[in-house]
């Protein structure tokens, strides 16, 4: 009797797992189709760049100024080079606000030495609540740079402090360990200028700087580092940005604007109250809040993706550090979606309420349970004698090939539309590691997500700091 009921339950679970698999991959497939079409159209559209400072001289005074807000916590190894990289962007009107978020190392000292900082009595121009600001510094050698020194309060708090001291209508939130390509900001601004009324957030594409040659704050020669974790992340990022976010952007369901490169309209951010310090993924939460605010008031705001606005960032090279990052992302996802659960399946919130948030809940939050459940079910099926080995192996193969296909398509979109890694051996590495991903990495990733879920429910969430190694400046 019990065994019969158990079998019924197991069979139902099997159907559910299969349903999950079908729905997830169907959605990914649709997004991939949107992405491919959009990237093709995008590439055709941008044959001529509308913000061409060299062609149109008046643009230098007409473009809206942008503030680059750089929160820095213990970034003494990279901060000076990052600021140099930012000063080298081709955009004509840039101001930089570095927020020293209570660093315990020599971040402020490095900045003071390199840019001759001196204290100034400046009050914020907006009033987002933050931890106390200790001092404000201006540079005597670089008028575009200011530094805010505040007590430690986390990245969201530092960004809010930066916004408070930002005087421009747009700001770019980024990481201190990131390098911008010279044209990145111009490309991101193009997305805004094409639809000034509605576009309030633009996300760029994040690429791994590991292994590349960096000089004067610029990536001179992009290379791939031969490191398992780095290569896995490169493939993941390509898939996430080019096969996922490009599609979401197309249907106005983009929820994630990367923390390393997110351009925002200041007024819109102030209207929703700035970054939330209650979540550990403040970038995701802000965009969801912007959608919620705008759709609730029928403002028509949009968050879009700019695939050629490239930001290079240092990717974790060790499993422990990567695990910390991924756990934080999963914990932040839980926090954000629980906070905005009222949007779930609410037609009032359009694509975001009916598709993007449900996808995050069912596939991203529910995914670990389904995958882990699948692993648990396997021995049960075996002991109850209802495991069909042929079917099992076939489903496994199907899942593998579908996953690899998505990865390969992302690499293909990257290579044909926005290539950065131009050497054939880089392609070989990416292709090889696309195949390897399902043997080991996925399982480790599942473990991290399960731990993060545990942490969320049992209250052990905190910002975890990554260690930096600095950029490589000599050729290989």
């Amino acid at each position: 009797m019990t065994a019969d009921w158990l079998k019924v339950v197991l069979l139902v679970l099997q159907v559910l797992v299969f349903g999950y698999f079908i729905s997830l991959n169907a959605l990914y497939f649709v997004l991939l189709c949107f992405s491919v079409l959009w990237c093709r159209r995008y590439k055709k559209k941008v044959v001529a760049h509308p913000i061409d400072f060299e062609a149109l001289e008046p643009l230098k005074v007409l473009v809206p100024p942008v503030t680059l807000v750089v929160p820095a916590y213990n970034e003494e190894r990279v901060i000076v080079q990052s600021v140099h990289s930012l000063l080298g962007v081709s955009y004509a009107r840039v101001e930089i606000v570095v927020v020293n978020d209570g660093s315990t190392d020599g971040t402020l000292g490095e900045l003071t030495r390199s840019f001759s900082l001196r204290k100034a009595e400046v009050l914020p121009s907006s009033v987002l609540p933050t931890r106390p600001v200790r001092d404000f510094y201006v540079s005597t050698v670089e008028p575009r740079l200011v530094v805010v020194d505040k007590e430690n309060g986390g990245k969201a708090d530092a960004l809010n402090a930066g916004i408070n001291f930002c005087k421009t209508p747009y700001f770019l939130a980024m990481d201190a360990d990131s390098l911008l390509e010279p044209e990145a900001l111009t490309y991101a601004l193009r997305a805004v200028l094409e639809d000034r009324e509605r576009v309030v957030a633009v996300g760029g594409i994040v690429r791994g700087v590991n292994g590349s040659v960096v000089d004067g704050g610029r990536v001179r020669r992009p290379n791939l580092q031969f490191n398992f974790w780095v290569l896995m992340q490169v493939i993941e990022y390509l898939r996430s940005f080019l096969a996922g976010r490009a599609g979401w952007s197309q249907i106005n369901g983009l929820l994630i604007v990367p923390g390393a490169f997110g351009l925002f309209q200041k007024a819109a951010c102030l209207a929703v109250g700035g970054y939330s310090t209650e979540t550990v993924t403040e970038d995701l939460e802000l965009v969801v809040r912007l959608h919620r605010y705008a759709r609730g008031r029928k403002l028509g705001w949009r968050a879009v993706f700019a695939p050629d606005a490239v930001c290079w960032t240092e990717m974790p090279t060790r499993a422990r550090v990567l695990g910390r990052q991924r756990k934080r992302w999963q914990e932040g996802l839980w926090q954000t979606l629980v906070k905005h659960r009222a949007m779930l399946f609410r037609p009032r919130y359009g694509v975001v309420g009916m598709l993007a948030v449900p996808h995050q809940v069912l596939h991203e939050l529910g995914g670990p349970f389904v995958e882990f459940g699948g692993l648990l079910l396997l021995p049960l099926f075996y002991f109850l004698g209802i495991l069909n080995w042929t079917a099992f192996v076939l489903y496994l193969a199907l899942a593998f090939f579908v996953g690899v296909l998505f990865s390969l398509m992302s690499v293909l979109i990257d290579q044909t539309h926005f290539p950065r890694h131009r050497f054939p051996h880089d392609a070989l590495l990416l292709l090889a590691f696309s195949l390897v991903e399902y043997f080991g990495y996925r399982q480790v990733f599942l473990y991290w997500r399960l731990v993060a879920t545990w942490n969320y429910f049992f209250g052990r969430i905190a910002w975890r700091v990554s260690s930096r190694t600095g950029f490589r400046t000599q050729a290989r």
Binding site: W5, K7, S125, L394, V402, R422
Partner: protein
């Protein structure tokens, strides 16, 4: 009963599963074989594509080097013609790129030589022809190349191409006409701005119009009267980059435009035309109900350096919107300079938040540093003025940066003078802070000694500490 239900459920599930399994296994096999083949094919395709791109890139670079070498120096028309006629399509593209690169070199002479060679060899003509090509990509390419060459012979063709059905071509034409900077290109651009396509940003069109409209602002003014909001914004934006008195009357009329964005751009445009009428127009906009119009109006007042704007900027310091107050402070700085009279006036007659906005905004331009620098000057009047202003500021609580200057200002003489002022005019809290500074490791011995000297309690405390330690 439950047993029966369970049995039925299990049997039906088994039957269902068995049937589904039979069907789905076949399907699965087919799907996997298909997917496997697709994956393999795709992997090979990606690899060979990269290999191919890499090789093509190398070959292209080599070809480019060869072609550059052939036309280096001063290419004569015959050499260029022969080269152009012999070249295939790919080589022509490379050659065009090389020529365009050379057109961009600094120096008019070099560009003129290349232009003459291009015209003589009939290449320019072929590009003008390409503007009528059936292939969109050729038209875009031709429009872009013609812009780089900057030869007026291509103007008419570009103006005609501004009506091209493909928006990509129109964008390339906009940029090229902007590069040419010739008023004869205006009709094409005005036509585009009258009905602007969504893919061309307002800013791009405005910049192109401004580049061409030097001395011909009358052509832009017509845009201000169009019913389309975008057209009016583009017109006002373009005029803001062109300083032309002939547009003044229409700009003043546009200060009453129903669209705030237009009014904001008009404020900027008026700031480029120094005239009493402009000042009056901008002053009117500083009282606009929309905050960002007021913000732009104050910026415009500052850029105009209009003396009459001082009073309006002082009024702006009490604006409800913080950003407007800051901008008004910036305007005051530009109009009157960072004078002690203004500081005193604001402190005496305006609320505290106005004073804070003023100091905050001026500090970004180095206000306190400049005032402190006055302590080292040999001009007695300036020295006195700086000293008195510092006393006022310290009394108003502006001390944080000054404390910092005591530690870091390059001249020790100034540091010591500043220290004395802080000690004299400061509150007990400041004195306590100074005492703390004296005990800070790494502080200049002279500064520490001065602190102990000017603050009696400090010396008393220090001597007490000395006595304590000697005991």
């Amino acid at each position: 009963m439950p047993r029966m239900v369970a049995t039925i459920a299990v049997r039906s599930a088994r039957i269902g599963t068995a049937v589904a399994m039979q069907v789905s296994l076949h399907l699965l096999w087919s799907a996997i074989v298909l997917l496997g083949l697709v994956t393999l094919g795709l992997a090979l395709f990606v690899y060979f594509l990269m290999e191919l791109h890499y090789r093509q890139q190398l070959a292209r670079q080599a070809r480019r080097l060869m072609l550059s070498a052939k036309i280096s120096g001063s290419p004569d028309r015959e050499t260029l013609r022969a080269l152009w006629l012999r070249a295939g399509r790919a080589d022509r593209d490379i050659l065009a790129e090389v020529l365009i690169d050379q057109c961009g070199f600094p120096g008019e002479t070099r560009r003129n030589t290349i232009q003459q060679a291009l015209i003589g060899a009939g290449i320019l003509e072929s590009w003008v022809e390409a503007l009528r090509s059936r292939r969109r990509s050729r038209r875009v390419q031709a429009a872009a190349w013609l812009g780089h060459v900057r030869d007026v012979r291509s103007l008419q063709a570009l103006v005609e191409a501004a009506g091209d059905p493909a928006v990509e071509v129109r964008l390339a034409v906009t940029l090229s006409l902007g590069r040419l900077k010739d008023p004869r290109g205006l009709p094409g651009l005005v036509r585009l701005a009258s009905n602007p396509p969504p893919a061309i940003p307002d800013l791009t069109l405005a910049a192109a119009l401004a580049a061409c409209a030097e001395g011909r602002a009358d052509r832009l003014v017509s845009l201000l009267r169009l019913p389309g909001t975008r057209s009016r914004i583009i017109g006002a934006w373009a005029l803001s980059a062109v300083a032309d008195h002939t547009a003044l009357r229409q700009l003043l009329a546009a200060t009453h435009d129903p669209e705030p964005e237009v009014r904001a751009k008009v404020a900027r445009a008026l700031s480029r035309i120094p005239a009493p009428e402009s000042e009056r127009g901008i002053l009117c906009l500083t009282r606009d109900p929309v905050w960002f119009v007021r913000l732009r109006a104050f910026t415009a007042l500052g850029e105009l350096h209009a003396a009459v704007g001082g009073a309006a900027a002082l009024e702006g310091l009490v604006d409800d919107v913080r950003e407007v107050r800051y901008r008004a402070a910036g305007t005051l700085r530009r109009i009157r300079g960072m004078t002690s009279e203004t500081v005193r006036e604001v402190l005496a007659t305006r609320p505290r938040l106005s004073f804070d906005s003023l100091v905050s905004e001026w500090e970004r331009a180095g206000f306190l540093w400049e005032v402190v620098a006055g302590l080292s000057t040999r001009q007695y009047a300036r020295f006195i003025e700086s000293r008195e202003l510092l006393r006022v500021l310290i009394a108003a609580g502006v001390t944080s940066a000054l404390m910092h200057f005591v530690l870091v200002y390059p001249q020790i003489k100034v540091r010591l003078r500043l220290l004395r002022l802080l000690a004299e005019a400061g509150t007990p809290a400041i004195r306590a802070e100074l005492l703390a500074l004296a005990g800070r490791p790494g502080i200049d011995a002279r500064v520490a000694a001065k602190i102990r000297q000017v603050i009696p309690t400090a010396s008393a405390a220090a001597s007490a500490a000395d006595q304590h330690s000697s005991r």
